[in-house]
């Protein structure tokens, strides 16, 4: 039985690879089959792992995790309301009442936006600035210190390049400017906290200078859209060098990744051929 299932998998694998020669019905068959099968799989998994125990069961069967709950009780309402909001999302299929879906979407979008704000700032901004600052501090080996310094310059140069290149936000709306100001204030506060932490630890002033440059550079991301000129332009050139080597590393790793996927599938096919030989005693 296992062999039959493996054979189905192997034949489907070969159908997909037939695309390398040219597009053909075998490939199209497998491609459409997987669309349907995966949609069905996800639907069942979502239903039984989440919707059934957390919405259907409390609302209609009046029980949560096998424990009975009262009709109209707090827990009943707490299952019904999000369930109803979820159903509202489907209003989009009926143009006349499509707007009701926005109520649910508002909660969803706002909730997730709020959820991410502080952890993203911590993980991607503050911790990164702190790690960078600490990597120059307290290193006695001159070679290591040079490496770390290169690291710091590289990061800020790369950032400044991005600032100039991206011209983010384009705040035309006055409210958008308020938003930008709030972000900047939060970032500045975070940076100030990091700075005070480092200076209280008696770390070399070079670190602080670099941090201030980095912070100013970062903030300029929000306020300026400048041309590649002067010091900023020079830093941006250094930034390109770092970015290119970084992208090169990413490209090398991407090749590695894709090849690994191929190796995995070829290994699967070779094992399958081994099974056939085993069965037919070749």
């Amino acid at each position: 039985m296992t062999f039959i299932w493996t054979t189905i998998g192997a034949l489907l694998t070969l159908s997909i690879y037939s695309f390398l020669y040219k597009d053909n019905p075998f490939y199209k068959f497998a491609e459409h089959l997987v669309v349907g099968v995966s949609a069905g799989y996800y639907l069942v998994i979502y239903y039984f792992n989440y919707i059934h125990p957390n919405v259907f069961s409390p609302v209609f069967l009046l029980e949560i995790g096998g424990e009975p709950i009262g009709f109209g009780s707090f827990l009943w309402w707490m299952a019904l309301i999000p369930g109803l909001l979820g159903v509202l999302l489907y209003a989009r299929f009926f143009p006349k009442i499509a707007w009701v879906g926005r109520w649910a979407l508002g909660i969803y979008v706002g909730g997730y936006a709020g959820l991410g704000l502080s952890p993203v700032m911590q993980a991607r901004v503050i911790e990164q600035l702190r790690a960078n600052a600490l990597s120059i501090a307290g290193v006695e080996d001159p070679f290591a210190a040079m490496t770390n310094l290169a690291l710091a310059v590289g990061i800020f140069a790369a950032m400044i390049y991005l600032l100039i290149a991206k011209r983010n936000l384009g705040a035309k709306n006055p409210l958008a400017k308020v938003g930008v100001l709030v972000v900047s204030a939060v970032v500045a506060y975070g940076g100030w906290l990091v700075l005070s932490l480092i200076s209280s630890a008696g770390v070399v002033s070079l670190t602080n200078i670099l941090l201030v440059i980095g912070l100013l550079g970062t903030l300029s991301y929000f306020f300026f859209s400048m041309k590649h000129k002067g010091i900023l332009g020079g830093l941006a050139r250094v930034g390109i060098v770092f970015l290119m080597v970084g992208f090169g590393a990413s490209f090398g790793y991407t090749v590695m990744s894709r090849i690994s996927l191929l190796i995995g599938r070829v290994g699967f096919l070779i094992d399958w051929v081994g099974q056939i030989r085993g069965i037919f005693g070749a």
Partner: protein, 275 residues
């Protein structure tokens, strides 16, 4: 048409064929090249190795989908084998719906090899949607998010989860993911709860994770099939990862040669056009 131009206009299916041959041959003629261990893999291995046997469990979040299976499944097998060999308890969960079947397969296969007992040595909590909401919710109480395991048994009935309330009772979380789930563990478990987190990601993503590694937000990192191969080397149980490294070597060489030929042909044909 000069030879250089001919080379540049070669039907790409010849390249496909070359790749197919290069990937297959090492399966039949293994080179057996040794895999050197790199620091990010060593540190993840050490973090798992330091866990107490038969005590607080490792939380393994198997968050990958079939698309990245060959890179990430060898990692889950290696980590699970490491744990079961050392009697370290494991709780497996997933943030990806397709991870449900893949996580189940990995943990049951590894458990069978080591006669690990369900409920006592390991448990499978199944899937929950919502990534950040799940990770944050588990920081308050795991039971709120996973009241029961994947098969409907209440979490309180599983000895492996006795006394485990939230991240305070979990010494290490490892996420194996081919998408942003591994990052989400850093954002929502490490940052607010200071949970120790390790990750195994596809090679495509690995370079983006070095800042987290350097900043101490990740205790260790496995990058792609090579990362899995190194881990297999550390637990001295070579499998899919190590087996793939020979083909990987041959194809990388082939691609570098292809890049060199492509460039040589390009510059020669261009020089001829502009005398």
């Amino acid at each position: 048409m000069s030879w250089a131009e001919k080379v540049l206009q070669i039907d790409r299916r010849w390249i496909f064929l070359a790749i197919a041959i290069a990937v297959t041959i090492p399966f039949f003629l293994p080179l057996g090249l040794p895999v050197v261990i790199t620091p990010p893999v060593q540190s993840l291995y050490d973090a798992v190795d330091e866990l107490e046997p038969n005590a607080a469990p490792l939380l393994l979040s198997i968050d990958y989908a079939p698309a990245t299976l060959p890179e990430l499944e060898p990692m889950s097998m290696a980590i699970l084998r490491h744990c079961f060999a050392k009697d370290v308890n494991v709780v497996v969960m997933t943030l990806h719906p397709a991870g449900y079947g893949l996580a189940e397969r990995a943990v049951l296969n590894a458990a069978e090899e080591y006669d690990a007992v369900y409920g006592e040595d390991f448990a499978f909590l199944g899937f929950q949607p919502g990534v950040s909401a799940v990770i944050l919710g588990m920081g308050i109480n795991i039971r709120n998010v996973f009241p029961a395991d994947a098969y409907g048994a209440p979490v309180d009935d599983l000895p492996v989860l006795q006394g485990v309330r939230n991240y305070d009772d979990i010494p290490l979380v490892i996420s194996l993911a081919g998408w942003s789930a591994a990052e989400a563990w850093v954002y929502y478990a490490h940052q607010p709860y200071r949970q120790t987190v390790g990750a195994g990601v596809t090679a495509v993503m690995a370079t983006d994770f070095y800042p987290y590694l350097d900043a101490g937000q990740l205790v260790g990192l496995l990058g792609g099939m090579r990362g899995a191969a190194e881990y297999e080397g550390l637990i001295q149980r070579p499998d899919q990862g190590v087996r793939g490294m020979d083909s990987q070597s041959v194809i990388h060489l082939l691609i570098i040669v292809l890049i060199a030929i492509g460039n040589a042909a390009y510059f020669i044909s261009r020089r001829k056009k502009t005398p």
